[in-house]
């Protein structure tokens, strides 16, 4: 039985010059990963790889039962630019109602945290469980373009230039210990820049349902059995070398991962009535089902440490903000509540932290369409072991003094926020993942 070459071995072989002429094109991923752009360990001085980090006050290691290598992370993206002040409402801060005559939330409806801020009324479950709140997260050189800002957030690089990998991809490369084909996953249909990695340790999959196409066919379903067997036969051997083999190896790894994910699970019974399908306790909203997939993946213990999910709801509320935003918050609240309950049921709640990301906040003042345009800093949420309930980090940006464009100032640079989670929760030194080598936000402070 010929031995299978993993995709990573093959990429390494090609990078070393194997089959250069014929496979030159597929080296692009290696060539593009410009070593001068990616973070490297310091040439001198002690390696930080195996040295235990100095304990900080309120660190996760004290509060959480999980050892660093057991810790898992969910990166929850709110694309379009989430208005932080509609999520954590600064109704007790002078200036709020002046800025938001139509979109402001009534004081009586705010779910109190302290006398300055509270949660939006659509976040009751989160309010009750408690989350750590990070105020004023954004770029110190803000840009109003979705593309520009999303790229900065995905690459984890404020200067963006020449970063062919995503921060979750680089994190996966660092966390990878060779024991698993996939260290980070994005719940997405066709790949996501945030997980682009140099070592190929990440995968994007749309959801568990789609995996049944390639794995786990019913024994009685001869048609699908034959199809799935053919996919395995075609990706079987390491016989030839060359570019077709990369296609083969990738497909093989994907199928292998699908097999592991689905092994021992029952495909939902699809009855006459669509209501027969089991929603896993999450309901049928998109974010809930994505987090369900994440919980199931973590439960399988396949070596996946980081999962990125993105809400399909649109946070780009240029108009009708007061109608759209509460809906988005409601979906967020329900999904996170279901996720938490599921993790508790699976005995994973002491291992998983959730962090939100969004490329920017919204304008301080409303526009003429009762909406909010592209802004700068926004509020982020963290939930997980050791993270203090309804505790606030960073500073609420001033509601009366703004930047030159009349937008909110940034009090926590976004790379410090990302690095703070990576370093303090996952205990990976920030410099190994973030080219800007930012000061890290102590998320347990």
């Amino acid at each position: 039985m010929p031995q299978k070459i993993s995709r990573r071995e093959l990429l390494a072989w090609m990078a070393a010059g194997g089959g250069a002429a014929a496979t030159g094109g597929l080296l692009l991923s290696q060539q593009d990963a410009d070593p001068s752009a990616s973070p490297t360990r310091p040439a001198t001085g002690p390696s930080t790889a195996t040295t235990a980090p100095t304990p900080t006050t309120g660190s996760a290691s004290a509060a959480s039962a999980a050892t660093p290598t057991d810790r898992l992370l969910v990166v929850l993206e709110m694309p379009g630019g989430n208005d932080g002040h509609s999520m954590v409402v600064p109704d007790g801060v002078p200036g709020y109602y002046d800025l938001r005559p139509q979109t402001g939330i009534q004081r009586a409806d705010v779910l109190r945290i302290d006398d300055r801020v509270g949660f939006a009324p659509s976040l009751p479950e989160l309010h009750q469980r408690g989350a750590t709140i990070v105020h004023g997260v954004g770029s110190t050189t803000p840009d109003g373009s979705h593309f520009e800002m999303m790229n900065r957030w995905w690459t984890g690089n404020p200067r963006l230039a020449d970063t062919p990998t995503g921060w979750v991809g680089r994190l996966a490369d660092v966390l990878d210990d060779g024991s698993s084909p996939v260290t980070a996953m994005s719940v997405a249909a066709g790949g996501h820049p945030i997980i682009r990695s140099a070592k190929g340790t990440t995968i994007a999959l749309p959801g568990v349902d789609s995996l049944w196409t390639v794995s786990g066919a019913d024994p009685g379903d001869r048609f699908m059995q034959t199809y799935q067997q053919s996919l395995r036969t075609m990706t079987n051997s390491a016989g030839d070398t060359g570019p077709a083999h990369v296609a083969r190896a990738t497909m093989s790894e994907t199928i292998e991962f699908a097999d592991q994910l689905l092994a021992g699970t029952d495909r939902e019974q699809v009855g006459e009535d669509p209501g027969d399908i089991d929603d896993g306790g999450y309901g049928w909203e998109q974010l809930g089902q994505a987090l369900r997939f994440a919980a199931n993946t973590f439960e399988r213990d396949l070596g996946v440490r980081v999962i990125h999910v993105s809400m399909t709801g649109d946070f780009d509320t240029h108009e009708g903000h007061a109608y759209s935003h509460p809906e988005l918050m409601g979906e967020l609240d329900r999904a996170l509540a279901s996720f938490h309950a599921d993790l508790v049921g699976k005995g994973l709640d002491d291992r998983v932290a959730v962090m939100t990301v969004s490329e920017f906040g919204r304008t301080a003042r409303e526009n003429g369409s009762a909406g909010l345009d592209h802004g700068t800093s926004s509020t982020m949420l963290l939930e997980g072991p050791g993270l203090r309930a309804n505790h606030q980090l960073g500073e609420i940006p001033s509601l009366t003094q703004f930047d030159d464009n009349g937008d909110f100032l940034t009090t926590v640079p976004f790379d410090s926020y990302l690095a703070g989670v990576v370093e303090h929760w996952l205990e990976v030194p920030a410099s190994e993942v973030f080219p800007s080598d930012p000061a890290t936000l102590d998320i347990f402070a």
Binding site: G190, F223, D240
Partner: protein
């Protein structure tokens, strides 16, 4: 060592969106270099533009998409349409900010200049309405210029980020000189959208006098474009991209310099560079050296199943024409082999295979491989197909369907 037949298929795959049956018939018995000659010599029948009337409609994009896909997949487009696709991924604009009718007009502009003169192409596209919207040129005034186009013009379109050719001061200066252009898409008099959208120049918003840009004095957009085209970094950068597009890997420094010479010597004519790329041995050596892009997979898949395949699947596959993910164009090719792509294709392959054209009475594996345009496949792929063909426990239609789906998923079908 690839056979002549394989090389001919390679040439047609890289230089057109084929191979189509008509192409294969035309070139039976030819040598690969004959095919290159013929494709270079072909003058494509001009692409008829698509017209939109009476305000924005929900199905405008659907019409534009089908118009373009039809053109690309037809025998009429040839090498020219292949270059249109290159320019669309290089001089990007997107539906994200430009209406379908404007994007369609821009594609039509690319169709007219694809193998023509690069300087003319750059002059035209700089003031193209879709581009003016996409990179915020429309409404940019000299007193408060938007820097987006000036930056991307140099960084992505002509000189390259690594060239060290330009500074922030050049971006600023370029932006000033480019200012003063607006898109006219509204009929103020009748208060309705215009059917014909054009760009116009407003003197009072433009730069007065001149500025220094890349070491030259420039007064307007035309000067800016001339200056970047004349910059020593431009010819190697653009010629290198054309090489990479056809060969599947960037050229060596020496080769890049050679191609730049060809480009400059011809007065920045595009066709001679394409010819130099195609006639170089590296091109014929490049058989199967890169993943198939979703667009290529789409056309090949449609030929495989011999029924109409909905072009909207390109959205699922991550390559919807007129909507590149960002200003840098399409992502690096290894993304096309990613896990999610495997899963997505596995379903699409099944969905369409059920209605695929019936196989004949002969060897079904050979027939389906012929439809797939695959001449030589691995033992594993062949075994997989033979296992299906000889499976008695499934029906005839099921067997045929699975043969089509399996070959679409084969590693060989997913590279080119």
């Amino acid at each position: 060592m690839p056979s002549d037949a394989e090389l001919i298929v390679h040439v047609l795959r890289r230089c057109t969106f084929g191979p189509t049956d008509a192409q294969l018939e035309r070139f039976t018995g030819s040598r690969p270099t004959d095919v290159i000659d013929a494709l270079l010599a072909d003058e494509p029948r001009p692409a008829p533009p698509i017209r939109f009337r009476g305000g924005e409609n929900d199905d405008d994009f659907d019409r534009a998409l089908r118009w373009w896909i039809d053109r690309m997949g037809s025998d009429a487009g040839g090498l020219s349409e292949r270059m249109v696709w290159f320019w669309h991924g290089h001089l990007t604009s997107s539906l994200e900010k430009a209406l379908p009718r404007l994007m369609a007009d821009q594609i039509h502009l690319l169709q007219q200049h694809a193998l023509g003169n690069f300087r003319t192409l750059m002059q035209s596209i700089t003031v193209d309405p879709a581009m003016l919207y996409w990179l915020d040129g429309s409404g940019s005034t000299a007193s408060a210029p938007n820097e987006n186009y000036a930056r991307e013009l140099m960084e992505l379109f002509t000189l390259g980020r690594h060239s060290g050719a330009y500074t922030e001061a050049d971006v600023e200066a370029g932006a000033k000189a480019l200012a003063g252009w607006w898109v006219q898409d509204w009929d103020d008099e009748n208060d309705q959208p215009l059917d014909e959208v054009t760009a116009f120049f407003e003197e009072e918003d433009a730069l007065q006098g001149s500025v220094t840009f890349l070491g030259s004095r420039v007064r307007n957009a035309s000067d800016v474009v001339d200056t970047v085209c004349d910059h020593p970094a431009c010819a190697p950068f653009v010629a290198g991209k054309i090489h990479e597009y056809f060969v599947g890997a960037p050229p060596s420094q020496a080769r890049r310099a050679e191609l730049a010479e060809v480009f400059r010597f011809s007065g920045l004519e595009i066709r001679p560079v394409v010819e130099a790329v195609l006639r170089d041995p590296e091109f014929l050596d490049a058989v199967g050296n890169r993943p198939r892009s979703p667009l290529e997979w789409y056309f090949a898949f449609e030929r495989l199943v011999q029924i109409d395949v909905e072009p909207w699947i390109l959205e699922e596959l991550g390559q919807l024409p007129m909507q590149p993910p960002n200003v840098a164009g399409w992502p690096d090719s290894e993304r096309w082999l990613a896990g999610g792509a495997v899963i997505t294709k596995a379903q699409i392959a099944l969905d369409y295979s059920w209605d695929s054209e019936t196989l004949g009475a002969g060897n079904q594996v050979d027939e389906v491989l012929r439809r797939a345009g695959l001449i030589d496949v691995s033992n594993d792929t062949r075994s997989a197909l033979e296992a299906i063909a000889s499976d008695d426990e499934i029906g005839r239609r099921e067997r045929a369907s699975l043969l089509h789906a399996a070959v679409a998923m084969s590693p060989e079908f997913n590279i080119t």
